[in-house]
Structures are given as C-alpha cells and as structure tokens.
C-alpha cells in the first residue's frame, strides 16, 4: 500500500442543512484525485466508478459502492451506515457493495467507535450523502429526457418518468450525473417513507466471516513482515532493572530482541517462535511505584467512604436536615472488581516505519488519535502516516487506547522493518487499561409516607475519575441530594470499558432503589414511576434525562413481562439511561428443586429510530449477555501489583449454558437514532439481582455474584 496523496481542497463544499439545525456538513465531492481507498479483505473501487461524495460511488454496471468510515467491532456499523446512505439514495440494496474506509480526516469526521455515538453523530450527514447523489441522478435523467425532476421518481436504483414510461438505471446515469454540480440543499425523505431503515438486514461481511477470509488485524500479513511479542512488566509499579536476552536471541527464528521503555520485544519469523523465545528472557524488575493488592483496595475503599475529603458532584437542598427528619434511613454498599476487556481478538497492530512515511494497519476504535500519537512519538508529520482499519474482533473500549499501536510503530522504527506486534491472551489480561474497581455507598431517607426525601451517593474508585453520574436518575426527583466521589491514583492502569462507570453504577443504583421501594412498601415499578412524576411536576435542580422516554420504556417492559402477574415467577426490575438511550429490563427467576434459576430477561429499549432491526436486536441481546456474564463471573484480582488471572482458565467469561432467554422490544418512536452499542448492558445486573432477591430474599451487593455464596448459596444460572 502506498502513501496516499493529500486530498486537494479544491472541491470542498459545505452544505447547510435545512432550517432545522443550521449544522454545517463537510463533504469532498467528485474527488477522484485521492485514488482508490485502501481496504483489507474487501474489493476496491474500479477506475470506472463515478464518485459522488466521500461516501458513495456508482459504477456503470449499477453497483453502488458505499464507504463505511467507522471502525467495525461487532456493533454492525459497516451494515447500518451504508443502509442510511442507500435509503436516501433509493438504492437497490442487493447491488450495494460496502468498503471499510481507511482513516481519512479530509473526507470523514469522527472515525471513532465509542460512546454509542457513531449513528447519532452521522445520521444526518449520511442521509444527505445519499439524498444529494439521488438528486444529481434525477437531474441527469431530467436533462436527458428534457423533463422536470419533479416528474421523476426513484426506486431500487432506477429513475422512472411515469408519464412517458421511460426508465434509466443509476448505472446508466452515473457518468452524466457525476459531471453535474452538487445541489446546495437537498430534501430528505419523510421518515414514514423509509423502506430499508428499520428492516432486518444481514451483516455485509457474513460471507467473509463464515468462510474464514482474512478480515481482522491478526489476519493481516505482508511479505517480509516480522512478528513480535512484547514482554511487559508483570506487576504494575515495577520497571526493568536488567535484561539478559542472550538465550532468547539464540533460539530458532529469532531476528532480534530489543528493549525500549519498559518493553522487551522479541522479533522473529513466526508467532510461535517469538512467543517461545520470550520464555527464555531473563528480566529483572525493580519497584517503581506502589505495589497494590486486592485486599489493600478493599481496606482503602472502606477508609475513603468515610473520608471528609470528597469532590462534590451535585448538591440539591439540605441533605443533612432531610436525614435528621427521616423515619427510615437505608444505607447500602456495593463493590465491583477490575475487569479486563478481553475482546476475543487480542491487541495487535502492524507498523512499517519507512524513510518516506509510516504505514499502520490494524484494529483501532480511534484511528485518528492513534495516528496523531504516532506522529508525535516518531516526530513524523501526521500526513505522512496512513492508517488502514481492519475489522475489530471486539473492542469493548480497549481499542480506544493507542498504546498497542504506538508500541508497534516504535518497534518498527527501531528495527527498521515491517512488523506485526501480537499480544498473547496473557498479555491482554495482564496489560492493564481495565474497568476500574469501585465501591459505592448509597443512603436514602424516607418520611413516614414512604417518600424519599433525601438521597446520598459516595463513589470511591481506583483511577476511576468521577465514578458517579450525578445527573442521572433519581437526581431531579429528590429534594435533598448529595453526590460526591473520591479517586485513588494507582499504578494499575484503567480505561473506558463498555458503558464506562455505568456498567456497574447502574446495578448498584437499581439494586438500591429496589431496596428503598421495599422499605417504602411500594411496588418497585410504581416507586420509580412516582419519582419520575415528581421530577416532572416539581423538579429539583436540573433534570438531564428525558422523563417521558424513561417512563415509556418502564411501562413497555412492565407490560411485555406481565409485571407482577405471573404466579411462581420472581421478577426483578431495572431501568437505566446511558449514552442518550433508555433501556428497562425485567429478569425472571424460578425455583427449580429449591434453587433459583434465571430463566428470562425482557428488555424494552428506546434508541430512537431503529436502523437495522437485526443488528439492533443483537446489540440488546449481546449487551445483556455481556452485562450478565460480568455481573456473575468477571473478577480480576491483584497480588503485589500483578493480575492473578491470566487466561480463560481462571478468568471466567459467560458461556452458552449461562445464558437465559432474552426478549427484546423497541419503542421505535421516530426520533433520530440515539445509539445502542452500550445502553442495554447497564440495567442487566440490577434486574437480575432484584429477581434473585424476589425469589430468595437475599441480595447481591458485590460483583461478581458467584463469589457471594453467603448471600445466595444456591446461586447458579442455568438454562431450563
């Protein structure tokens, strides 16, 4: 792959949106100077393709090629992005070819996968990309037939003039249309006319996936490329004292062993050989920071929860007075451990640092940041660095960091050769960037009518920043409220993990609310609805969630699960707002031979318009499985700064038999999409814990649940 010429700015156009938002959208139109985009494991554009804009080209044979700029990690963006373009284009989906675009900051914005933000961010610009190309095709047909554009219709990649019964395919019109000026404004479809959006469309990479084609970073191969593994310090808070690599260097297939920063890289001809030689390294480490263990953290949390020094995140009313007046006070604590992301494809990246530029290829959720950090590290201008995206074998937030890209780039610059750095599972598990361990203390003050008049939350976490979400429910619904947090700085590195913070906070909050509702002698669903009504009628402070959207998912979940109406089924409720979307869940537990068994989870989701029903359905089910598995089993502990669990034999991930039935319902209220990559995960732990409580009278306070044999001795989830 060559370094791409920098795109000229000559045809940059800004389109003002319709009166609504005044948002400015940038596109590069008719830009063929950039040449064919580089992609991995997919066909590329041919010279005959007429490029209409950054996203789409049409070939004379009618094949519409749509570029998907954002990293695909299983959230199905590579299918749903092009669907949005094809919808407005009125393209025949069976003739759409989708390509993964390389990083291109000239053509695309926010080539990021994270924060459930891709669709919300790009929704309008993708629609405009399709609509303006359609408009150009209409104009080409109008010119050809000497008719007006409003006498024409489009459907399935064909323009029709009904009056004269003339038809032309997009392929036939593409060359002509490509020469026309880009319309300054375009009319978007009325949402009720959507044909493709809302359908269940299969993953565009299905064939490649089921036939084992090279799609992932780990599959990338280049003639002459070397393989490398890196030995990093096993314990956080240590650094290299000395390295003896003589034995490793002498092993078959080893080309070099190089030490940089705290890394010892073994470079050679195959993954197996470098990994074997790595075991022959003799490295001594010395202390370079605190050496922390899980029991230290447990103690520390207790101290911090009582500390007078905390950062206040939100304060409404007079919380001390409310607690003094209370007839009932409930205080509960909840704790979670560190978690590795453990995407099934471990970290890896290919780098080739040459005199004339740098080539990077691999799986990244943030390619632009990875490129910019590489530029800084190597002192090379960013324009001299290309970054091609492969498919990502999962991400869960881990690939938002660029550490593994930088390592590959630095190593390539040292050895002056193309190299792919591969992390073994053990490297991935012990390499940091974890979901932070956190402990919460919640307190509620109830008056004699069972109304919550005071609410306190203290969050303490390890490298967790603000581990609260101070404006989330029930803020706004309680007159006297105090939310604060304390962060402990540790050498154990942390990072964003799918639904950062809320992946555990939601469980703690929803389990606590359940307990408060019981103490108030109210139905747990009615209790939540009552709080929402109060936030609507007499809000306290700012209300930063949409009360009506939250109520709607609560009611939908209650209705679909027949809340409270099923004999012998113990139900648990949970609802959460995160990343702009709302999801409510009802978990159902039955007693089988004296044991509580999780049988089903009902989910009601409001993510606005559902783009691809198949992908969306799986996002919710997958998010629930993820939330359930980590609530029950995920546990990464530390001894002397080193992770105790290093692979899947000691770190349990959820498997087939642990998975209950899941039923998914969408509100589909017609509002612009609000994101779905994360929001289904946070509510699961709470719904499940509350259902186990309903069945057994015992509560889970800490994750993983399966470690709390005292709380619920028969805890097991199995499929009936």
């Amino acid at each position: 792959m060559s370094i791409l010429p920098k795109t000229s700015r000559r045809d940059f156009l800004k389109l003002a949106t319709a009166a609504s938002g005044g948002l400015l959208l940038g596109f590069y139109w008719n830009d063929t100077a950039a040449g064919a985009p580089n992609v991995v494991g997919n066909m590329s554009l041919t010279p005959d393709d007429i490029t209409f804009n950054s996203y789409l080209s049409i070939a004379p044979d009618g094949i519409v090629t749509i570029l998907s700029p954002n990293p695909e990690l299983g959230q199905n963006i590579k299918t749903s992005f092009p669907m949005i373009v094809a919808e407005e284009l009125d393209a025949d989906w069976s003739k759409v070819n989708v390509l993964q675009a390389a990083l291109d900051t000239q053509k695309f914005e926010r080539q990021v996968t994270g924060g459930s933000g891709a669709i919300p961010h790009s929704w309008e610009r993708l629609r405009k990309a399709g609509a303006s190309a359609r408009q150009m095709l209409l104009e080409a047909a109008a010119k050809r037939w000497q008719v007006t554009t409003d006498s024409l219709t489009t459907s399935q990649s064909v323009v029709t003039h009904a009056a004269s019964k003339r038809k032309a395919t997009y392929g036939e019109l593409a060359a002509e249309a490509g020469t026309l000026p880009v319309p300054a404004t375009v009319t978007l479809k009325d949402k009720k006319d959507f044909k493709l959006i809302g359908q269940a469309i299969r993953n565009v990479d299905n064939h490649e996936i089921i036939t084992g084609k090279p799609l992932f970073g780990l599959d990338f191969y280049r003639e002459g490329m070397l393989f490398a593994v890196i030995q990093r310090p096993q314990a956080f808070g240590t650094k290299i004292k000395s390295v003896d690599s003589s034995a490793a260097k002498a092993m078959p297939g080893i080309v070099d062993v190089v030490t940089f920063k705290n890394n010892v890289a073994v470079v050679g001809k195959s993954t197996w050989q470098v990994n074997k030689a790595r075991k022959a390294l003799k490295i001594e480490y010395e202390q370079d920071g605190a050496s922390e263990s899980t029991p230290d953290h447990d103690k520390l949390f207790k101290t911090l929860l009582d500390s007078p020094e905390a950062t206040v995140r939100r304060k409404d009313g007079d919380v001390d007075a409310a607690f003094k007046q209370a007839t009932t006070v409930i205080t509960r604590e909840y704790q979670c451990p560190f978690l590795p992301h453990a995407p099934l494809e471990p970290m890896n990246f290919f780098a080739h640092v040459r005199e004339d530029g740098v080539e990077l290829v691999g799986p990244s959720q943030t390619p632009e940041m990875a490129r910019n950090e590489t530029a800084k590290l190597l002192g090379v201008p960013a324009e001299k660095i290309t970054l091609e995206l492969t498919r990502l074998g999962g991400g869960f937030g881990r690939r938002l960091k660029a550490d593994y890209v930088l390592e590959a780039a630095e190593l390539s610059s040292i050895i002056e050769a193309p190299v792919k750095v591969v992390w073994m599972r053990e490297d991935d598990m012990t390499g940091g960037s974890y979901r932070p361990a956190v402990r919460y203390r919640f307190s509620a003050a109830l008056n004699s009518q069972g109304e919550m008049i005071g609410y306190k939350l203290r969050g303490v976490g390890i490298n967790a920043g603000n581990c609260t979400r101070e404006d989330n429910f029930p803020s706004g619904a309680v007159d006297n409220l105090l939310i604060d947090s304390i962060e402990h700085k540790s050498p154990i590195t942390t990072g964003a993990w799918r639904a950062p913070i809320t992946n555990f906070l939601a469980f703690a909050e929803q389990a606590f609310i359940d307990e408060v509702a019981h103490a108030a002698k109210k139905d747990v669903v009615q209790f939540r609805l009552g709080l929402l009504d109060k936030a609507k009628r007499t809000p306290t402070g700012a209300v930063k969630y949409d009360i009506d959207r939250m109520k709607t998912v609560i009611q939908l979940a209650a209705e679909k699960s027949e809340w409270g109406k099923k004999p012998k089924v113990f139900q648990g409720f949970s609802v959460y707002f995160s990343h702009r979307s709302y999801v409510a869940q009802v978990a159902e537990v039955s007693m089988k031979s004296g044991k509580p068994v999780l049988q089903k989870i009902h989910a009601a989701a409001d993510c606005g318009i559902v783009v691809n029903l198949s992908g969306a359905y799986q996002q919710v089910r997958g998010g629930i499985v993820d939330g359930l598995g980590h609530a029950f089993f995920g546990n990464l502990t530390f001894s002397g700064g080193a992770a105790d669990q290093k692979n899947f034999n000691t770190y349990k991930l959820i498997r087939m038999k642990d998975v209950p039935e899941v039923d998914v319902h969408f509100v589909n209220n017609g509002i612009d999409p609000t994101g779905l990559g994360e929001p289904a995960l946070p509510p699961t732990g709470g719904a499940v814990a509350n259902a186990f409580f309903a069945a057994t009278g015992k509560r889970f306070y800490n994750q993983p649940f399966d470690k709390q044999q005292d709380a619920i001795p028969q805890a097991n989830i199995e499929r009936m």
């Binding site: 064939h207 195959s270 089910r621 038999k657 998975v659």
Partner: protein, 154 residues
C-alpha cells in the same frame, strides 16, 4: 525444524516448522490459512477449532508433530462455496457480531451435527459450551445450530 506433510482441506501442504509448533500457528503463520483464530492458546475458548479426522479439535494445543496423516479440515475447506448447511444457517440467522469467534463456532457445530444430526436444545448447549463468544451471540448460535440441523435432515 522438521518437514511435515499435512493433509488440509483435501490438499497436501508442506511445512518446515519446529515439532512443538501448534497446528494453529502452522495454519496461520506458515500456510496463510488465517480463518482459524487464536483466542487463548490453552484450549479454553474454541476460536481455533478445526476438524481432525472429522472430530472437532483445538488446534492451539495440538502440536503439528501429532497430526501425522490426520485429515484436517479448516473453515476455509468446510465447503467449497461457503454453503455448508451450518454456514448457510449462520448467514440466515445473521449470527455474527464482531465475527472473530464464529469460524470456531461453525467448526464445532458442524462436527457436532455430523455425530448428532437430531440434537435436543440441551445437547446443543452442551456441544457449544466450549466456544466462547465475547460479543454474546449465544442466542443466535442456538438458533443457527437448530436451523442447520433441520437443513441437514432435509
């Protein structure tokens, strides 16, 4: 290093590798058959599943020297056009999220259905218990194995 002749997907391949090299890395690094995936290297996740003499095998812990004349089938050779009933079912049910585990899932399911063409729901769960899907596509895997079984019957 030693020379091994391997029978993979009905073809004969030569590989000059160390005797202890797991079949997984011979497939991936030496022969360029990268459809078989690495997930754990310790027979825990199933991403590396291939067929050895029609049985599902974890190629990450199978030394190449132990393969001998064994008949190996990888995801690339499960069918010529990607239309093995298990593959077709995987497409129809739209199983994959990230897709990384799916070659291993498909190979496990295909070997299982050859031995048990009329499985119960419990037998499917047991058969697929050794394959991790970090994305959580388990519901669809269940559905797809069930669909594949019905395709094999007809």
């Amino acid at each position: 290093m030693a020379q091994y002749t391997l029978n993979i997907n009905g073809k004969s391949y030569q590989a000059d590798v160390d005797a202890d090299t797991p079949l997984l890395w011979v497939l991936r690094d030496t022969l360029g058959l990268v459809g078989t995936k690495y997930g754990c290297g310790i027979a825990q996740c199933g991403a590396c599943t291939v067929h050895l003499n029609d049985n599902a095998a974890r190629s990450c812990t199978l030394p190449v020297s132990a393969v001998r004349n064994g008949k190996i089938v990888t995801i690339e050779g499960l069918s010529e056009k990607g239309d093995h009933p298990v593959q077709t079912a995987w497409n129809e049910i739209d199983v994959a999220q990230c897709g990384y585990c799916q070659a291993g899932q498909i190979m496990s399911a295909a070997a299982f259905l050859t031995k048990n063409p009329k499985p119960t729901a419990e037998q499917i769960d047991t058969a697929m218990q050794g394959n991790i899907c970090r994305c959580g596509t388990y519901h669809r895997i269940r559905e797809a194995v069930t669909l594949a079984a019905s395709k094999l019957k007809s």
